[in-house]
């Protein structure tokens, strides 16, 4: 008799991340096989479909990349704040706010030329998201109100506001009283890169890269990281926390808002309640997987997007949405578990703690 226990490693695995990631993935996919067999599906065909749909050809890649854009930007919105030790749980609402502002711009700028309108829509997204984060930013920096609560609560407010707009003032007059905002003008849509990928992919990549460089290489980012380590250390180093807290939260909101603008002009084409599609919450997972480092967000977002696109695709093979969701969660947890495994290890220990014998099986040992 032996039982597995989780033991903290004496040292975190050096370079163990990719390996433990692979192990986590294999474990998740193995559990997935059991799950799929239990639900009466052919796991090989299902996994093949997942892969093909997400990464099988340029067209699939274009879909996955489009999905990675809002995930990556939302992840960045969480990670930038996280670098400073702040929790931005409000990306969902900031995306909606960005989409609202962008939709407003699209209404005003119907007569503007394409490039101007597209740019204005994206800028509108940034402004909308920033404004949405302004309240929590000021409350946190001036009177110390916990940003977790304020940003989270504002998500619901943003959703209600979108509903009100769609059911009220922005209802399409041509929709016979149906709750539907009008489409944005064709020339306001994001140009296509390849397949169905739109230029939002490049915009997001550039923004993520800019933030990664800013956090890791600039004095601004240095201050951010010091503040994330300890507020007292930051004051000692001469960093003004109040202004920094506020700017970082507003910037995070702007990044999420940009995702709202991109979704509006890139995929949804009109303001809808579902436009944020849970990206804001998924962004928290993206940021956590990227260990709160903006530089890691892009890769994680592509992985996450591929899992989502592949996972949704298998529903067309008769896999129920709940099984598909469990499978997606499994794969992501596998990846998170990998992070844990690089700091902990599973050891088999004798069932009777008094018995010193028995060589244990160690999972994830790689030194």
């Amino acid at each position: 008799m032996s039982r597995p226990v989780l033991v903290r490693r004496e040292q975190a695995l050096r370079g163990g991340q990719p390996l433990s990631f692979a192990i986590g993935l294999v474990v998740a996919l193995t559990i997935g096989i059991v799950l799929l067999l239990g639900a009466g599906h052919d796991p090989v065909a299902i996994y093949e479909r997942m892969f093909v749909a997400a990464l099988g050809d340029p067209d699939s890649w274009s879909v996955t990349l489009n999905r990675a854009v809002p995930l990556g930007l939302a992840g960045l919105a969480v990670a930038v704040a996280g670098s400073m030790g702040l929790w931005n749980i409000g990306a969902e609402g900031q995306i909606l706010a960005g989409a609202m502002m962008a939709a407003g711009v699209a209404r005003i700028g119907e007569g503007w030329p394409g490039p101007v309108l597209v740019t204005a829509i994206l800028v509108g997204g940034v402004v909308g998201g920033s404004l949405w984060a302004l309240g929590p930013a000021v409350a946190r920096s001036q009177i110390g109100v916990n940003e977790i609560l304020t940003t989270l609560m504002l998500n619901e407010v943003a959703l209600r506001l979108v509903q009100w707009l769609i059911h009220g003032p922005w209802k399409d007059p041509d929709s016979f009283n149906f709750p539907l905002a009008p489409m944005i003008p064709d020339h306001g849509r994001l140009p296509t890169l390849f397949g169905r990928a739109h230029v939002g992919v490049i915009v997001a990549l550039v923004v993520i890269a800019l933030f990664a460089v800013a956090v890791n290489r600039t004095a601004w980012g240095f201050e951010l990281r010091v503040a994330g380590s300890s507020g007292a250390t930051a004051r000692y180093a001469g960093i003004s926390l109040e202004r920094k807290t506020a700017t970082v939260l507003v910037m995070a909101g702007g990044v999420a808002g940009l995702a709202g603008g991109i979704e509006l002009a890139g995929t949804a084409d009109r303001l809808t309640e579902g436009i944020s599609n849970g990206f804001g919450y998924a962004g928290i997972i993206v940021a956590a997987l990227a260990l709160m480092r903006p530089s890691g967000v892009a890769a994680v977002a592509v992985l996450f997007g591929a899992v989502q696109i592949g996972g949704q695709s298998i529903q067309t093979m008769g896999v129920s949405s709940s099984v598909s969701t469990i499978l997606q969660a499994l794969i992501l947890f596998g990846a998170i578990g990998a992070g844990v495994l690089s700091r902990y290890q599973v050891r088999m220990v004798p069932g009777d703690p008094g018995d010193p014998g028995g060589d244990g099986v160690q999972v994830g040992e790689a030194t």
Binding site: V5, V7, E10, Q11, R14, A214, R217, T218, A219, W220, F222, E223, R225, V226, G228, S229, S230, A232, T233, R235, Y236, A237, G238, R347, V349, P353, G354, P356, G360, T367
Partner: protein
């Protein structure tokens, strides 16, 4: 334990260490920080597995995989940080995780009380742990190990959190346990405790055993210290005095509030001149901390002024003060003085990153060069400079911090508890740096709870009590008793 080897990436923590503890004795394990004491104890307690070597308990070889295995063989460890549930009672904490039966509160309280009495451990089994002092909490940890029938008890620097009186009590308890046939392994680097109540001592240096099971009665503190540092015993000579120059730090009428909004500093007047070290003695919590913080710009004053080399810098920001020539070594190294999760390079430019800028960027080469310079000049032992600061040992953390603060040749140095918790060599290194800064003309304000340190280093000594300066002494002539009286608020100090 024989020929224990334990390697970590880039470090050999134990390189053939030996330890033999006899039944019924109190056995000291001595060594500097980084000598391999903690690793060896963690191997014994089942936290680490050795790469090579053998652990025998009462003649039987063991391979511990978990602390539970070690406990099953009768080895229990009391860690430096306690692992107690604050809202549980003493009795509940003692039996937590160990009892596989339904618990009746009264029964376990009685059993715990019996056990405590057996070894003279004064405790109140029905009290929640959060109400207890540190000393009482430590006794709960010891009870936990005893309850699990540990015959070999490892105490990792047990006196670090205790008052002197509590430390003495602990000695009595340990003696009772030894007399009852149990063995105690006592890790420390406070030599007077070792000579005070240990029977035998094993000294580690560089991961090896340099002296095994020395009988304490046959040696003395000086010899043990020399074994630890591997050179001559620690000097207690006063560094040569220096003629004091013009006043560089002038504090007058300074008052400030403490963390709880109550007055913590009351109208303090203090002058430190170029080329002198002014020591501040006092029982912790009498305003020393707040004084340093106000001077360093981390706490605002309610009244009074701070002048640096004649300029009024009251209320200036920490950065402005640093630029004006104030080096500050804060009491809380990891929480204030350093950013433990950031790299060694980042920490070395914590105060001067603005100077490493080109446009918005920090020039990595320049920052790294500065870091390498600090590491070399101040003898900091580090791994890769991009690794987190937290990976450094306590002494090396402090060397980097002090080096960083002194490298710009500050005119005024405020050092709060700069040597607390460091090993012998670390203490010596930091003290030498402070003396060197003084010799180069800096005005040094030194706060310490170690009176010996103050008497050795300070050119003048002031005593603080209840937020006020209550006396000034000449360290070469003052009697310790006199200073002690002043520290507890009795008697007027020799006038200044």
């Amino acid at each position: 334990m024989s020929d224990i080897w334990k390697r970590f990436p880039g470090v050999v923590a134990n390189a053939g260490a030996n330890l033999s503890v006899s039944r019924g004795s109190i056995h000291a394990v001595l060594g500097e920080n980084g000598a391999g004491k903690s690793t060896l104890m963690n191997v014994l307690a089942g936290v680490y597995r050795p790469d090579e070597g053998e652990v025998r308990v009462e003649g039987v070889a063991h391979r511990f995989r978990t602390p539970a295995d070690a406990l099953a063989a009768g080895i229990g460890m009391v860690h430096q940080e306690f692992r107690l549930v604050p809202s549980f009672t003493v009795a509940e904490n003692v039996v937590l995780g160990a009892a596989a039966r339904i618990l009746r509160r009264q029964a376990i309280e009685d059993e715990v009380a019996d056990l405590a009495e057996q070894f003279g451990l004064a405790t109140r089994p029905d009290r929640p742990v959060w109400q207890l002092s540190m000393g009482e909490r430590q006794r709960v940890e010891i009870l936990k190990a005893l309850w699990r029938d540990a015959h070999i008890l490892i105490l990792d620097e047990p006196t670090a959190v205790l008052t002197p009186a509590e430390a003495d009590e602990l000695g009595v308890v340990l003696r009772a346990m030894a007399d009852a046939g149990r063995s105690v392994i006592f890790i420390s680097h406070k030599l007077h405790e070792v000579t005070g109540f240990c029977d035998e001592a094993t000294v580690l240096r560089g991961g090896r055993t340099v002296a095994a099971s020395v009988r304490v009665a046959d040696t003395d503190a000086g010899e043990l210290a020399s074994l630890m540092v591997g050179s001559s015993p620690m000097t207690t000579e006063r560094p040569p005095a220096h003629p004091a120059g013009p006043p560089l730090l002038e504090v007058s009428g300074l008052s400030a509030l403490g963390d709880r909004g109550l007055p913590a500093l009351q109208s303090v007047d203090l002058t430190v001149r170029s080329g002198e070290i002014v020591g501040i003695a006092g029982v912790a919590g009498n305003g020393q901390r707040e004084l340093c913080q106000v001077v360093a710009g981390l706490r605002s004053a309610t009244a009074g002024t701070v002048h640096l080399a004649g300029d009024d810098l009251t209320g200036a920001s920490p950065r402005k003060l640093f630029q004006a020539g104030l080096g500050y070594i804060p009491e809380d190294r990891l929480g204030v003085g350093l950013a433990p999760r950031l790299s060694v390079v980042d920490n070395s430019i914590l105060r001067t990153y603005e100077a490493h800028r080109r446009g918005p960027f920090i020039v990595a080469e320049r920052a790294e060069a500065h870091c390498v310079d600090l590491v070399e000049r101040f003898g900091v032992r580090t791994g890769p400079l991009d690794d987190p600061m937290a990976g450094l040992s306590g002494g090396n953390l402090q060397r980097l911090l002090v080096g960083r603060e002194l490298s710009g040749r500050p005119r005024v140095v405020v050092a709060a508890q700069p040597t607390r918790g460091l090993d012998v060599q670390g203490v010596k290194a930091i003290q030498d740096l402070l003396v060197e800064a003084r010799d180069e003309g800096a005005a040094v304000l030194l706060v310490s709870e170690d009176l010996d340190e103050l008497l050795t280093l300070a050119d003048r000594l002031v005593v603080m009590h209840d937020g006020e300066i209550v006396g000034e002494f000449d360290p070469t002539t003052a009697a310790r008793s006199e200073i002690g009286e002043a520290m507890i608020g009795h008697g007027a100090g020799v006038g200044s």
